[in-house]
Symmetry: C2
Subunit: 322 residues, 2 copies
DNA sequence: CTGAAAGCGCTAACAG
DNA sequence: CTGTTAGCGCTTTCAG
């Protein structure tokens, strides 16, 4: 320790960490600093962390599988979360440690809660057993978006779906499909919003919930009851549907209006009308809850944040083929 | 420690970490395991790390400013890196800790090298002083992409530019612009590739290097010498240019061919022809070098990986307005 | 095969 | 104002 080469311990700590401790003789101070420089001293953050029991970083457990394909399209949500979480953590003076979760080979819950981070954010983990195990350890954690956990912060998926559907209705559409394989909780919540909105407006919904491929074939067939608009479970889904539609000669938005969900980078790039998933706010909130938890405070069980619709160029009035 | 509740220390370590140590009486083993369960024992990874001097995680210093705007478009490269680095690290059994770097308030080099990670990946850091300081500490680090550091792994930017330009030439284009503000090393390398290729094919390049706005005005003016194709510094840039062009009534690819660089999520979403920046390979290689460095091995100073062109739908033969 | 003891590098009382 | 001391919780020789 630098102390050896000059004065001694506590003193060194004071100058090196410059503590709210007045009066350290200039002379001593510089002596320590020189010694430090000379010996090439660098603080060992690990030891410090062990000592005072805080690592200054939080973990984010992400389902990495989503980004494993050749295409990054499916990972767009994850990317948005990673970016905004990094920013949120950084704003809170914390580092973000990414912990990869792979469904086929999930990490042992004990390993992710092994104190190398002060708390955990869970994202997109559809594994109930894992989630329960992690929460069960009592380690501070909050989930972002949908998931099995109680303690979570999420966008208002149903309300978002309603915004999407009402936008379409206001454009004159009546045959509005919901494109989704319906796997996740978010999918189901969005579906619910779509369904209720359709019903509230007296519009039929039967047969209008499908995967995008059959949907496109239906539209291509020009059947009179084919949908004229489709609300996609998320942007990635729309990014699959729109080019496929165009390839079939179905013009967007002239022949078909489409709206996505997330309004992330993909939506921007393809000028897709989309419901904004407020990731920066969501993650900021989650980080806040997490730090609260770490500090031993009470935090809400569920926080739901509002969405808004970003109208871009993939939706148009029914029959307004320009 | 669990040891207290049953047997004693070393033994506990053996069973809990199950070491390559044969012969632990079944009885003792279960006894320890039960005790552990009972006391809710969880290993403290931090203490372990301090003890054997390896944290099992590497850091990635990213310039977070790029993603700070309202739009995520500018952060697409960063997103791609983050995702592939997470995967690369995970494949190597490492965690990835994101360390935000903000130009206006850069973290002290000493803080990023404080041993809370075993090594560092630097991405998109244009701050020479910072880079030097970090490398100067002797802490293991390698930079991904361009940057001031010697030890780095990057795509072959010039060759990639050549691929882009030659594709355009093969489509009959002769007035090929390079859209770039020319700030970064990568920009300059790509420019170099563009320039050399133009020259090699006897094509003029004067005045063809500009920002996208003046470029579009020029094209809109229908001047006879206006470019018919543009090679953009990266996908994000193309994502700005293409919609703006369409808004001016310039059709892509009928009136204007455009090719991007990175071929990431944006290019996929907008079906942009783009030079692939091999991020997964790049980051995997970088992680490999880093682990080598950490293990005290010699590693190459510079690794350059090839790009390839992904032809999508933003480029077409000159005059082939369909 | 199991126990004791030292120490990783730092922090945090508590004395001098 | 500066030095001593006792740990943080684990790993790791080295004995029993």
């Amino acid at each position: 320790m630098a102390a050896a080469a000059g004065v001694s311990k506590t003193t060194a700590v004071f100058v090196l960490n410059d503590r709210p401790n007045f009066s350290i003789p200039e002379e001593t101070r510089t002596r320590v600093q020189n010694a430090a420089k000379l010996l090439g001293y660098r603080r060992n953050g690990l030891a410090a962390a062990l000592s005072h029991g805080k690592t200054g970083s939080i973990g984010i457990v992400v389902n990495i599988e989503a980004g494993q394909q050749d295409s990054e399209l499916g990972a767009s949500y994850l990317l948005g979360v990673l970016l905004s979480a990094t920013q949120a953590a950084s704003a809170a003076g914390l580092r973000l440690t990414t912990i990869a979760y792979d469904v086929t080979n999930p990490p042992p819950p004990d390993e992710v809660t092994d104190n190398r981070v002060d708390g955990l954010l869970l994202v997109g983990i559809m594994d109930e057993a894992f989630t329960r195990a992690v929460y069960g350890t009592g380690f501070p954690c909050v989930t972002v978006g949908s998931g099995y956990a109680l303690r979570r912060v999420t966008a208002d998926n149903a309300a978002g779906a309603t915004q999407a559907v009402e936008h379409l209705i206001s454009l004159g559409h009546r045959r509005i499909a919901y494109a989704s394989p319906g796997l996740t909780r978010a999918d189901r919540e969005r579906r619910q919003g779509w369904l209720e909105t359709m019903e509230r407006h007296g519009l039929p919904s039967d047969g209008l919930e499908q995967d995008w491929e059959p949907l496109l074939e239906w539209i291509e067939s020009q059947a009179p009851d084919a949908p004229t608009a489709v609300f996609c479970r998320n942007d990635s889904y729309a990014a699959l549907l729109v080019p496929a539609a165009r390839r079939k000669g179905i013009r967007v938005p002239e022949d078909l209006s489409v709206v996505g969900f997330d309004s992330g980078i993909i939506a921007e790039a393809m000028e897709l009308t989309s419901v904004r998933n407020p990731l920066p706010e969501l993650t900021a909130r989650a980080v806040e809850m997490l730090t609260g938890l770490i500090a031993g405070k009470e935090v809400p069980e569920l926080v739901t944040l509002p969405t808004k619709l970003n109208v871009r160029r993939s939706t148009a009035s029914l029959g307004a083929a320009s």
